[in-house]
């Protein structure tokens, strides 16, 4: 039982990091129907910005998060402007391919010696690690920070989406681009903002990932990116609570598989669950079915 609780906590830690990435996928998909394959690489950029902020500039932790947030938002907004906006009226597959191109570009450009470099880097711990024991289960301060920061981000996101003018505009654009535009919403700006907001969350996720699993490299975004996107689909893409729920399921299935079955099957089980869920609920757990017009 202690063993299970311990693994459950570890799964929660993984799930929360996935949730931060999944939110970006779900918001961007909700608003422009694009699988932004480069989002996982924005997460990687966040981790590297965190590394630089701590090691090179010696910034305190809140400033580290701020740097990652603004750096990632800038990257994502630039990406949207260059590669996605010109293709908004083109067939959807064209922007999917530019997203794949952007993903490859970010991975290989940052692994150049002149940029971040191709090696594995150890992420410096900005504070000493302590852990608390209770009934055979140990909780580290890293886990506490991950839980607290993620919940904070969720609260801020909830506030932005449901309590601000920008959030209202986002919801309007996601419902209907054209009509929202006619009602005076600046659609391009709203879409840029959504990309930036998603990327900011991924940046926070990148720093947290670096603190929790202190080995980073420029290709680290691929697998978490795929899993976070899958989590967003699992929960019902376009839905914010869905993305969090899906991410928690992905995190648990991965950790529990590694703990009870074998770590070599870790990446497989989550996708078995995904396919099973999609067969029962084709639009994800909390997804809404859109009726198709004839």
């Amino acid at each position: 039982m202690e063993y299970f609780l311990q693994q459950f906590l570890n799964g929660l830690q993984t799930g929360f990091v996935y949730a931060l990435i999944a939110l970006g996928y779900t918001m961007v998909y909700g608003i422009v129907r694009l699988i932004n394959f480069a989002h996982g690489d924005v997460f990687m950029v966040g981790a590297f910005l965190g590394l630089y902020a701590i090691e090179k500039f010696g910034l305190p932790l809140p400033a580290v998060f701020l740097l990652a947030v603004f750096g990632c938002a800038l990257v994502a907004v630039a990406m949207e402007r260059v590669a996605y906006r010109p293709l908004r009226e083109a067939p959807r597959i064209a922007s999917l391919i530019t997203a794949i191109g952007m993903s490859l570009f970010l991975e290989y450009f940052t692994s150049l010696r002149q940029v971040f470099g191709p090696n594995y880097y150890s992420f410096p711990r900005p504070f000493p690690v302590t852990s608390w024991e209770a009934g055979g289960v140990s909780l580290t301060n890293i886990q506490v920070i991950i839980f607290a920061v993620t919940l904070c981000c969720l609260a801020i996101l909830q506030f932005v989406v449901f309590r601000t003018r920008m959030g209202k505009a986002m919801r309007a654009v996601s419902y209907d681009h054209v009509t929202a535009g006619l009602m005076g919403v600046n659609v391009n700006m709203v879409i840029s903002f959504t990309f930036g907001l998603g990327a900011a969350l991924a940046g926070v996720g990148g720093v947290l990932y670096g603190i929790a699993y202190p080995q980073i490299n420029t290709f680290m975004g691929v697998m978490p990116g795929l899993k976070a996107f899958t989590a967003a689909v699992l929960g019902g893409i376009g839905s914010i609570p869905g993305a969090v729920l899906g991410a928690l399921i992905m995190g648990q299935s991965e950790t529990l598989t590694a703990a009870y079955l074998s770590s070599t099957y870790r990446d497989g089980i989550a996708f078995v669950i995904l396919i099973a869920v999609l067969l029962l609920r084709p639009t994800g757990i909390l997804g809404v079915r859109r009726t198709e017009k004839v």
Binding site: A83, P91, I97, G268, L278
Partner: protein, 324 residues
């Protein structure tokens, strides 16, 4: 077409097929061309076959599949295991192993397609992506249920059977078969599903059955390509059949133009040769810029030609006479 016309057309195709295979044989036997580039050429033929399969699935039927490499891998492992179990290294056994690879991939596609093809658009893409990752995990662990397959260390000791003649001949057969298929009533049904599934349903097309058939056929081609691949490089590694390989094929199909046979062929050869030419052309201190240039080229191409390089234009050979 009249009966005599059909026979003449078949004879022309057979003659061209024989000529192409002979050209492939000469290419390799005479040794005029550097063997390295012949190998790249063979890889491009194999890629074309796999990409034609995905074009059938995505380009003609409109089924978004992100797991094509899984079927490529199933074909490769099946063919390699059949060849290895048979022991001998005869051309006949190779043909059987290729057929087994094709059939194996098609059979799995049927099993997967039955439940999964009820999903639509991006959800289908994600389910097939998930299937691809599950298959990669199975390849990684294959040694625990099939020692021959080697698991994460890779499968070695596969006979080298694929040569230029086999590649050229297979590609020729597949290209003609796909052309004839999409021109047939069956192909028209597939295209109608791509254009509007509800409308297709309402004119009496059993859309699920056709989607399943298109998917199985396309995955079978991936399996055939996999069989050729296994016997070209004589070594299989699970990493060769991961998500990136699926993306590779998808990029080729979209670059060439969805539902465009000529485009797929040109894009396959262009993509494979571009990767190698950049390796040769770039000065050694800039070699790591190869994968920076390629995505930039990819993005620029998409921005300039979102409909693919060829759009709707086909080479005369692949045209069906009804379009201008």
């Amino acid at each position: 077409m009249t009966g005599a016309g059909r026979i003449a057309s078949f004879a022309r195709n057979a003659a061209a097929f024989a000529a192409a295979a002979a050209a492939g044989y000469l290419l390799e036997a005479t040794g005029i061309v550097n063997p390295y580039w012949i190998q790249i050429f063979q890889l491009a033929c194999i890629m074309s076959i796999s990409a034609l399969g995905l074009n059938l699935i995505y380009g003609f039927t409109g089924l978004f599949s992100l797991g094509h490499a899984a079927f490529y891998g199933i074909g490769a492992y099946t063919a390699a295991c059949v060849m290895k179990s048979a022991g001998g290294e005869s051309q006949a056994v190779f043909l059987v192993s290729l057929a087994a690879g094709t059939a194996g991939a098609a059979a799995v596609a049927l099993l997967v397609g039955l439940p999964v093809l009820r999903l639509t658009s991006d959800y289908l893409g994600i389910a097939t992506l998930g299937f691809g990752i599950i298959m990669k995990v199975l390849f990684d662990n294959a040694d625990s249920f099939l020692p021959m397959a080697g698991g994460a260390r890779g499968m070695t000791g596969i006979a080298k059977m694929t040569n230029a003649a086999w590649c050229v001949a297979s590609l020729w057969i597949v290209a003609v078969a796909v052309r004839n298929l999409v021109r047939s009533g069956f192909g028209r049904a597939l295209v109608s599903i791509r254009e509007d599934e509800i409308a297709a349903e309402s004119v009496g097309i059993d859309t699920f059955l056709y989607k399943l058939a298109g998917f199985v056929a396309g995955c079978g081609l991936a399996g055939m390509a996999g069989g050729l691949y296994a016997h070209l490089y004589t070594f299989l590694h699970p990493g060769n059949f991961d998500f990136f390989k699926s993306v590779d094929v998808l990029v080729i199909v979209v670059l060439g133009g969805l539902g465009n046979i000529s485009g797929t062929l040109v894009a396959s050869f262009g993509w494979i040769f571009l990767l190698e030419v950049l390796r040769v052309v770039l000065p050694s201190e800039f070699i790591e810029f190869r994968w920076v240039l390629i995505p930039v080229l990819l993005i620029v191409t998409m921005l300039l030609r979102p409909q693919g390089l060829f759009g709707f234009r086909e080479f005369r050979f692949f045209r069906d006479g009804t379009e201008g």
